[in-house]
Structures are given as structure tokens and as C-alpha cells.
Amino acid sequence: MNVKPASDTPNPAREKSGSMAAGRSPFRRWFRTLGWRHIVAWLAMSFAFFPVLWIVSASFNPLQTLTSQTLIPDSLTFDNYRQLFGGEVPYTSWYWNTLLIAGGASAVMTMLSALAAYAFSRMRFSGRRVGLLSVLLIQMFPQVLAFVAIFLIMVQVKDVFPSVGLGTRAGLTLVYLGGALGVNTWLMKGFFDTIPRSLDESATVDGASHHQIFFKIILPLTAPILAVVFLLSFIFLINDFVLADAVLGQGSPEGYTLSVGLFRFLNDQFNQRWGPFAAGSLLAGIPVVVLFLFLQKYIVSGLTQGAVKG
């Protein structure tokens, strides 16, 4: 409310009181230029925040059912959290599985993508243009649509290599790696192109080999884009339900990821399990939101260049 309007006849007394009733008051002027914008922003924020507040409230509500929840709980309790970790469902192993699979796969995906981007950025070879275009073409056929085929392939892999077949975390990780090359490779290549070649050349003169240039010069200089690609892949994989369900869904509940586990947990007994579910999803969401807000600046630049989060 402390915006100084450039009005023609400033009236200090009025400006301070700024009441609605005051006809052509500074308040009205303020409202017409800026005030309504704040109202819109607050409306949008309440739309955005209502479900979040609701789930936070549910997770601390002593009454664990959906029926009995009120927005402001009568008292705060950690019962829901206790029930979640109490062994009725293997929540901790879901959490661990998710971190392990999504984290491991994103790290390797980022590395695979960086390797390819380095070749595309620094080397000239026949098939380079075709290669770059095929990386884009691959994206036309989203991996997730082939989930039936992936399921049937993993059934067969299980007979040959049981440790990476259907129902294994390693198997799901390998499946995810199939999506390593894509828009992210282009994103990285663009970033690598901005690193001056004179750096490579002087390193070569000093006797550095191509892999030394890659690991000791290019990667450290492009750390921000690596972080963005890692985070976007990580969020994308955490959100994956279809492939996780296809590969892990028919195994034991201990093997699930958070998406598969929480969905099945809640869907079995919707009303009864609302409280523990709220606690579980809150714990699942917080790290992602924190990371996201922390790296927001970089992520947005990545997003505007075409990456889409799940």
C-alpha cells in the first residue's frame, strides 16, 4: 500500500488514510494500477495452495479418515506418521527404492547424455547430422507407450538374467536408461557449444587426451546444466507410474516405488488410509519441492528450451 502515486494534486493526509470512500483517492488509483494485481495473485495462490494446506493438515490430524478431517485439526499428532512407519506397509522401502532407482537412473542418464553431447559438440564425423536428428526423432516415440512390450521383454529377461528381469529395481533402472538420449542431449550440446574451443586446444597442446578434456574441462565447466538435466530426469522418473507398475507391479509390495505403492495403498481403502497417505505423500513431496525451488532459475531456463516435466 505504500506505492507513491504520481498524482497531480498530492494530498498527504488522504494518501495516508487511503480509504475506499475517498472518491478519486490514491487508493483507487493504486487499486486500478496495482491493487487488483495483488488480489489476482492472492486468488491464484489460494488455488495453488489449498490442496497443499489440506494435505499438510490431514497428515497431522488425529482422526485418520477422510470423513472426519477438518482443515484446522483439533490437535496435532504424529500418529499418521507412526502408522506409516509402523510396518503395515513397507513405506521406507518404497522411499528407498524410489531414491535408488530414480537417483541412479538420472545420474547415469545425465552421464550418457553428456558423453553423446560431447561427441556432437566437439567432433565432426560422418553421420553427425543424422545422429543429431535421430536423437530428436527418437523422442517422437515415447518409451512409456511401449510399456506392454517392455513388460513382455522383461518377462523374458527374467529367465536369462534373473537379477535384472521383471520385478527388480535394477531392471527398472535399465529400462529408464533407454530414455537417456533426447531433448536433454540437445540441451547439453547447446551448452557445450558455448565453452570456447580454445580451452580444448590448449589442453591438447599440453598433452591432454580427449577423455581428460571431457572429464577435467568440459564437465566441471558445465556443472549447472548437468544439475538441471539430472534434476529434471529425477523428477520425471519419480512421477513415472506406468513403467514402474509394468516392471515392479506384479512383484511383492516391498519392491514398489512410491508412485505404485502409495496409489495401491490408498486405493485399497480410500477413507481409512487418508491420514497415513497424507503423511506419506508429504514426505515424498518435500525433498522434490525443496530441490526445485533451490534450482528454479536453472530449471526454468531448461524448461523454456523444451524439456517437459511429468
Binding site: V3, R37, H38, V40, A44, M45, A48, P51, V52, A58, L66, L71, L112, L115, A119, R122, F125, R129, L132, L136, I138, M140, F141, P142, Q143, V144, L145, A146, F147, V148, A149, L152, D159, V160, F161, L177, G178, G179, L181, G190, G207, H210, H211, N239, A246, S259, L262, F263, L266, F270, N271, G285, V288, V289, F292, Q296, V300, T304, G306, V308
Partner: protein, 533 residues
């Protein structure tokens, strides 16, 4: 980036650098470590192939051998030679893309031409083995008390005592009578040896369990087989297969089954599970469009898929852009805070928020009805369910549009707008004639990408409402809010749908085509817009 741009980059780049040709001159220490790493890596890759080869051969899994063999060959080719420097960097990602992206896509096409499903998942040979291997206890025969023995070479044999106490000896050749002097007993009178054959201990039995279960002593009708580790009975095969005619006869009744569409079928239409996978050409595709009970729901799903994707893009973009324009005003306080908070729905994992909304929209217990004091079937009524899905997707998607619109708005030079004001344009005119067209240049590709993403936005559809409410009279699992990908998922994995993998793959292939069309359009459109700019 487009082709044109890619070419530009290439043209404008410096001439090919020396290191593109593999000027390997590393220092000695790093060479050794690199070498050790390389040898270990290559060894592991090759070992993997050769460890897997025997079982893949045994399973006759030719595709597996081909893919793994190709991958191994590529790795050896790239890393065993000094040349092929680019390949050394491209091969790892390419192998995974090949194995888990390209191959599954091609395989989807293959499955879509078959009747593959839970009851048609075996090969014909496997299904036949399964059926002819089935046996039942022959009526009127006795149960035996059994002891398991083996000779010094490990050949199994059974010592059998029937109801009347008659002792016989069963080997792979058949059942023979025993004379008393052949049998060695302990002080309790239990058998310990028959001729060369000695009694197997518990440890040996559990070790050779599978062998024992497969062991049978041929008799006149059927065979004597172990039932438990101490009893045996006479079994006979349920079915007899005639290799010449390809018919299967049920021994007890004499009913003849004929192989038909991948399953043995009797004259009266009865079938014998399991069936096997056969090619059925384009039946899965024609079924979607011609079978009356499938076509109706399928077309509804298809139309809703487009409506959902288009409306989602329009709604999220309208709200996101509107907010961006509203908040992008010089001198407005708290912009940064607003922006940080408005992004939260986007940062939360969508699988989670879809489930939270499912709880909030619940008709009986949900907070929305509670606040309104109403009893509105948000997720049960077809029209309301569609509106709910769109609303939830708006909630999930507007922050993204807000972020990218804000970015695009801020990159438009303000001189352009000021110049238009000088020329007497109203703010609205300036927005319509200058800001919006310039925004679209940078945002159009993102809108198309967003369309392609929402076209397959499984999480919102399935986790919120499982595609429901169901369409009445549909013989396949189709709901009013189902989109193609969730419909495919339900066909393949939902219990009670019969796991129709072939049909599900056919739908997936149709989605591939639609998504590819959109992507192709987006490439072209991007180029056109760049020319404009």
C-alpha cells in the same frame, strides 16, 4: 533446434579440430588406469553376453541374442580400436536407446499383430508341452508307500509297497517284482537298499527334488509318479496329441480338440487353456473400428483424448499467461514471492497431487463437497468427471505456463511497446499486435510440446479416477475420462480385462502415429516461426 539451425551451427563452427582424430597422448599413469578400466569394462560386457547365451539358446530367444549380440559387438568395435573416437562417446547411450526404446517400439508393432494375452502368451510348442504333460490319477489304482533310492551313478529308483503289502521296485524301465533276498533292511524292518541301490537321505532328496518330481515309472496304463516324498500313485496323461493331424484327444472322453486361433477348441466350442500366440494380421486394428461393442467406447476415448489435450493446453496457457501479464508490472511489490509460491503445484510430484485431488473430490468424504455443503458426484458423473479432470490438470499445469510466459514476456524489449504507445495504441492494442505475436514465436513450440505431453498424461487420468466412470455397455475397460494411454494400460494390466497385450499394443501403435504426427508438425512449425522472427 531445427535442421536449419543444426546446419548453421555446423557451418559456423571452427574447422574440425585435431582431437577429432584421436590424438591419444596421455601421460603414462592415466594410460594405465584407463587401460585397466577398459579391460574390465570390455571383459564385463563380453562376459555378460556369453553367460546369457546358453540360456537364451535354450529358450530359443533369438531376438534377445540379436540385441545383446549387437550391443556387445558395438562395444568391442568402438573400444578395441584406436579410431572411431565419436563412437566411443555415442555408443553407451545408443545401446540403451536401442535396447529399451527402439526395440520395444518395434516389438509393440510385432505384438499388435498377434493375439498375445494372458491366455495366449506361450509358443505353440510350450502350450502343447503343458497340455500333454497333464496327468490325472488313474481311477481304481492303488497308492503306494514309497522310498527313494539311487545307485552309485545316481540313477533314481523307487521302492514301492501297495495296499496289500506287496513290494515292487520301480525304475525308468518299469515296475518289477522283488524277491526277499534283494532287499536289505535295518532292524526296524525299513528298507535301506535294493541291490546296488541305496536309500537317499533327506538332504539328497531335497537337493534332487525336481528330478524326483519328474521321475516316472512306466506301467501298463500311465506311469507311477511321486505324490509326496513318501507316497506314489499311478497317473495317466489327460490328452494325447496326434502329430499328423495336429489334433488333441481327451483320453477320458474321446473328445477331439482342433487348434484354432491359437487355442485347442472342441467341436462344441470348448477351449483348453493355455493357448499360444499366433499372428492374426491386422485384426486388432480392425477390431477397434469395426467391432460394435468396442468401436463406440474406443471412438469416445479417442475424441476425449483430443478434447482433453487441447483444452488442457488452452486452459493452462490462458491462466498462466494471464497471471504472467498481471504480475509482470514494474513497481509491483512481492513479485518474486508470488512467483516462488505459484510454482509449488508444479514442483510437487504429479502422482501425488492427482491422488490428493481424488481425496478432495470424493463425493461422500471430500473437502470440496464439505465446504459447499453439497453432495456433488465430482468423479462419478461423466460430465463432471471430465470437468474435474480438466480442473485438476489446470491446477497442475498453469504454473509451467506461468513460468515460461513470464520468461518470454521479460525477453520482449520494452521499447517496442513504448513505441506503440507513442503511436497512440491502447495497452490492449499493444498486447494484441505486439506482445502476443512475439510471445507466440517463442512459446508455440512449447505449446505443441505441452499438447503432446497432455495427449499421454496418464497420471492425471488414471491416478485421479482410473478413467472412470465406466462407459455403459463397453466390453473392454473404457471409462468416460479414459484417454488412449490409460485405456491401453487398463487393457493390458487391469485385473479382469484378460490382459489383452496384442490389442493394447495395437492401440499403443495408433498413439505412436498420432504423437509422431504432432511432433512432425512441431518441427515444421518451429522452423516456420523462426523464419518469421
Amino acid at each position: 533446434m531445427t535442421e536449419r539451425e543444426a546446419r548453421q551451427v555446423q557451418d559456423s563452427d571452427a574447422p574440425p579440430p585435431e582431437n577429432g582424430r584421436g590424438t591419444d597422448a596421455p601421460r603414462r599413469s592415466s594410460l594405465t588406469w584407463a587401460l585397466v578400466g577398459k579391460i574390465l569394462f570390455l571383459g564385463a560386457v563380453n562376459a555378460l553376453f556369453f553367460v546369457g547365451l546358453p540360456s537364451m539358446l535354450a529358450l530359443e530367444w533369438w531376438a534377445g541374442i540379436a540385441v545383446l549380440g549387437l550391443a556387445t559387438a558395438l562395444v568391442n568395435w568402438a573400444y578395441l580400436t584406436k579410431k572411431n573416437l565419436p563412437a566411443k562417446y555415442l555408443i553407451p547411450g545408443t545401446i540403451f536407446a536401442l535396447t529399451f526404446q527402439i526395440v520395444p517400439v518395434i516389438y509393440s508393432g510385432y505384438i499388435s499383430l498377434t493375439n498375445s494375452s494372458i491366455s495366449h502368451r506361450l509358443s505353440e510348442e510350450q502350450a502343447l508341452d503343458n497340455l500333454t504333460g497333464r496327468a490325472s490319477n488313474v481311477p481304481g489304482t492303488t497308492r503306494f508307500d514309497m522310498s527313494i533310492l539311487a545307485d552309485p551313478e545316481g540313477t533314481l529308483a523307487l521302492f514301492l509297497v501297495d495296499d496289500e503289502g506287496t513290494e515292487t521296485f520301480g525304475t525308468q524301465e518299469g515296475q518289477v517284482a522283488l524277491s526277499a533276498d534283494e532287499v536289505t533292511r535295518d532292524e526296524d524292518g525299513d528298507v535301506v537298499a535294493v541291490g546296488d541301490y541305496t536309500l537317499l537321505g533327506i538332504a539328497a532328496i531335497s537337493e534332487r527334488q525336481n528330478e524326483i518330481l519328474d521321475f516316472d515309472v512306466p506301467v501298463e496304463r500311465g506311469a507311477i509318479m511321486a505324490v509326496t516324498i513318501t507316497t506314489a500313485a499311478v497317473y495317466e496323461a489327460l490328452y494325447t496329441y496326434d502329430e499328423d493331424t495336429g489334433m488333441l484327444t481327451e483320453n477320458a472322453t474321446g473328445v477331439v480338440y482342433e487348434p484354432k486361433d491359437g487355442i485347442f477348441t472342441a467341436a462344441d466350442g470348448r477351449t483348453l487353456d493355455p493357448g499360444w500366440q499366433v499372428f492374426i494380421g491386422f485384426d486388432n486394428y480392425t477390431r477397434a473400428f469395426t467391432n460394435d461393442s468396442i468401436r463406440g467406447p474406443f471412438l469416445r476415448v479417442l475424441v476425449w483424448n483430443y478434447v482433453f489435450a487441447i483444452l488442457s493446453v488452452i486452459l493452462t496457457f490462458a491462466v498462466g499467461l494471464g497471471l504472467a501479464v498481471t504480475l509482470n508490472r514494474a513497481g509491483m511489490r512481492g513479485q518474486k514471492i508470488y512467483r516462488a509460491f505459484l510454482v509449488v503445484p508444479y514442483a510437487l510430484p504429479s502422482f501425488m497431487t492427482a491422488l490428493i485431488w481424488a481425496g478432495m473430490l470424493n463425493q461422500q468424504f471430500g473437502v470440496i463437497n464439505e465446504l459447499l455443503g453439497a453432495d456433488i458426484p465430482w468423479l462419478r458423473d461423466p460430465t463432471l468427471a471430465k470437468a474435474s479432470v480438466l480442473m485438476v490438470n489446470l491446477w497442475l499445469g498453469f504454473p509451467y505456463m506461468f513460468l515460461v510466459s513470464t520468461g518470454a514476456l521479460q525477453s520482449i524489449p520494452s521499447e517496442l511497446k513504448e513505441a506503440s504507445y507513442v503511436d497512440g495504441a491502447t495497452p490492449r492494442q499493444a498486447f494484441n499486435a505486439i506482445t502476443f505475436p512475439l510471445l507466440m514465436v517463442s512459446l508455440a513450440p512449447l505449446l505443441i510440446a505441452s499438447f503432446a505431453f497432455n495427449f499421454n498424461n496418464f497420471n492425471v487420468i488414471y491416478l485421479l479416477n482410473q478413467g472412470g466412470p465406466p462407459i455403459e455397455g463397453a466390453t473392454t475397460p473404457a471409462g468416460h475420462t479414459d484417454i488412449l494411454i490409460s485405456y491401453t494400460y487398463r487393457l493390458a494390466f487391469e485385473s479382469g480385462s484378460g490382459a489383452q497385450w496384442g490389442f493394447a499394443s495395437a492401440i499403443a501403435v495408433l498413439i505412436f502415429m498420432m504423437v509422431a504426427a504432432v511432433s512432425a508438425l512441431s518441427f515444421r512449425r518451429t522452423r516456420a516461426l523462426e523464419d518469421l522472427a
